[in-house]
């Protein structure tokens, strides 16, 4: 097996050229790889197509930093804070929006990534019927169910194959095998659909630990391109069993990003002004420590014995 441990700046630099389509966390609110969001901004990567059902404030940060050409997503904002100010600025008071938007619902994005993951030519679905999402995103096709005698409208969703999926997991081995627990959102579909997967692991463990519970694996290591060891890579988003959500950080971001100057100051302080994730953790200091989950609510062991 090939060892895949590398630094985050190397993984992003090598695997994510400008113009790529990228999933940055797909669990909706938890496990969003903000460390990668910041590294993308630091490297000044441009013209990304950011694919996200809901990646909390990550997408808003990337838009404000000028990294985004297109958003393919269902929701952009700040989940506990409110509207995404950079997202609004990209659309409002302009002759034309500064980014393209391919509107989705959460479920249609799920169908698109599922079709990508499973090699389906397209996915038929019902739940965009009646929504103007099929008007503002002209990629959807209105059709009729060929298996139904009566007229039954359906919506056809084209597959999405992201160039890169960047996902946070609780633990991985040096080969990219990993365990993830808690809700998965579209993380598994994204990992299976993407051409390349970068994992940000809260902890690196011996391969035996991952092999002991194959049912907890998000995707096996042979589908993973790089694994980076980054404790609290998801900060300020939560990670089940490891980190609580830093609500104040999201609120501060919301306040400071209200105008362009404030957002620039926020970027200077939290992204450009810190060299890497280690420096970011050091800057958070005791605040980060207080978010660490120290309690235990262990699941019962599962027996995989063969005889």
């Amino acid at each position: 097996m090939q060892e895949k441990l590398c630094s985050l700046d190397q993984a992003i630099g090598d695997l994510l050229p400008g113009g790529s389509s990228v999933v940055l966390g797909a669990c909706l609110e938890p496990d969003i790889p903000f460390a990668a969001t910041y590294e993308i901004i630091r490297q000044g990567i441009k013209d990304l197509d950011v694919i996200a059902p809901i990646s909390d404030a990550s997408t808003d940060m990337l838009i404000g930093a000028g990294c985004v050409g297109q958003v393919t997503g269902a929701w952009v904002g700040n989940v506990s804070g409110g509207l995404g100010h950079n997202y609004r600025r990209a659309f409002e008071n302009r002759d034309t929006p500064s980014i393209k938007l391919r509107d989705h619902s959460n479920f249609s994005l799920g169908m698109a990534l599922m079709a990508g993951a499973y090699g389906m030519p397209y996915a038929p679905m019902r739940s965009l019927l009646g929504s103007d999402i099929v008007k503002s995103n002209d990629q959807f096709i209105a059709a009729e169910n060929p298996f139904c005698d009566q007229k039954e409208p359906v919506v056809l969703v084209p597959p999405l194959i992201p160039d890169v999926a960047i996902l946070s997991v609780q633990r991985a081995d040096k080969y990219g095998n990993n365990h993830h627990w808690g809700n998965r959102g579209l993380a598994q579909e994204a990992a299976l659909a993407a051409e390349k997967v970068i994992l940000l692991a809260n902890e690196i463990v011996e391969p035996e630990i991952i092999l002991s519970d194959p049912s907890r694996v998000l995707v096996p290591g042979y589908l993973v391109s790089s694994v980076c060891h980054l404790p609290a890579a998801a900060h300020p988003s939560p990670q089940t069993g490891c980190w609580r959500r830093d609500n104040e950080f999201f609120n501060d971001y919301h306040r400071q990003s209200r105008d362009q100057e404030g957002f620039q100051e926020w970027l200077d302080e939290w992204v450009y002004g810190v060299a890497d994730h280690q420096a970011y953790r050091a800057k958070l200091g005791a605040g980060l420590k207080s978010l660490e989950i120290t309690g235990q609510a262990l699941s019962a062991p599962a027996n995989f014995a063969a005889v």
């Binding site: 669990c27 989940v79 990209a90 509107d103 479920f107 169908m111 929504s131 503002s136």
Partner: protein, 252 residues
């Protein structure tokens, strides 16, 4: 004199919309509190679904800022993916779903995407999230929002989440055989669809709100249902249940 806030009344009114044994898509904030109240009072067997991939029996024991927070994972009935959980909507299993919105119109269509033309919006709102799916595929849609003339409008600029579309049979004609708004719970009143046109009419008013006032704050010519009544005040049991969930008095 019953001591309650308007948010508490809205939460309790929303809780009454959940029947025992039902499968309900729960959002954050007011709906999650409503789900908790329903479980503790008349609906102990309701099941709550969260689009991030979680199903729960008992509501989370601690305050949630997002549905993926650790307290919502602990002791969940299921912590899985979005597709297996949201597919239960399309499978026709979900009885009711809660959404909020920036704008709603007389036929219960909800906009959370664009104010103005979508090619050049005056205001860019966050988008659907799971709302379009919940609105299309739940057997009953429950909408919670503030009652302002600029929010309750004649026609929304963009239908993110379909209600009764253009009224009458237009929802069914679009392929949505079931569902549609069942109640719109505001800080002044509850609106429900009425008659063959499926337009939202005034079903009940919260104490202290005159019918004229409510109509004045509604962007269409609001009709009154024949069964118009005052929204029942929170009962002591309902308030006790809410206080058990909301120990810090966030909603009080």
């Amino acid at each position: 004199m019953v001591d309650y806030s308007i948010q508490e009344l809205m939460i309790i009114a929303a809780a009454r919309e959940i029947n025992d044994g039902e499968l309900v898509f729960v959002g954050m904030r007011l709906p999650i509190a409503a789900y908790g109240v329903a479980r503790l009072t008349h609906a102990p067997n309701a099941v709550g679904l969260f689009e991030c991939g979680i199903a729960r029996y008992a509501p989370a024991g601690d305050m949630l800022y997002t549905m993926g927070d650790p307290p919502n994972q602990l002791q969940a009935a299921w912590s899985a993916g979005l597709v297996p959980v949201m597919s239960q909507l399309q499978r026709g299993r979900v009885d009711a779903g809660f959404i909020g919105g920036a704008e709603i119109d007389r036929y219960g269509n909800v906009n959370t995407s664009y104010i103005g033309d979508f090619n050049k919006p005056l205001i860019k709102l966050p988008g659907s999230g799971g709302a379009a799916d919940i609105a299309a595929m739940s057997k009953r849609l429950l909408v919670i929002m503030n009652h302002e003339k600029r929010r309750l409008v004649e026609k929304v600029d963009y239908i993110t989440s379909p209600g009764f579309l253009h009224g009458g049979c237009s929802r069914a004609d679009a392929g949505l055989a079931v569902g549609g708004p069942s109640a719109v719970i505001t800080d002044r009143a509850i609106l429900r669809p009425h008659g063959p046109d499926n337009e939202l009419h005034l079903a009940s008013f919260h104490r202290g709100n005159g019918i004229d006032d409510i109509a004045e704050n509604t962007g269409w010519n609001l009709q009154v249902r024949p069964d118009l009544a005052e929204t029942p005040l929170p009962s002591p049991e309902e308030l006790a249940a809410l206080h058990e969930i909301d120990k810090d008095g966030f909603w009080h």
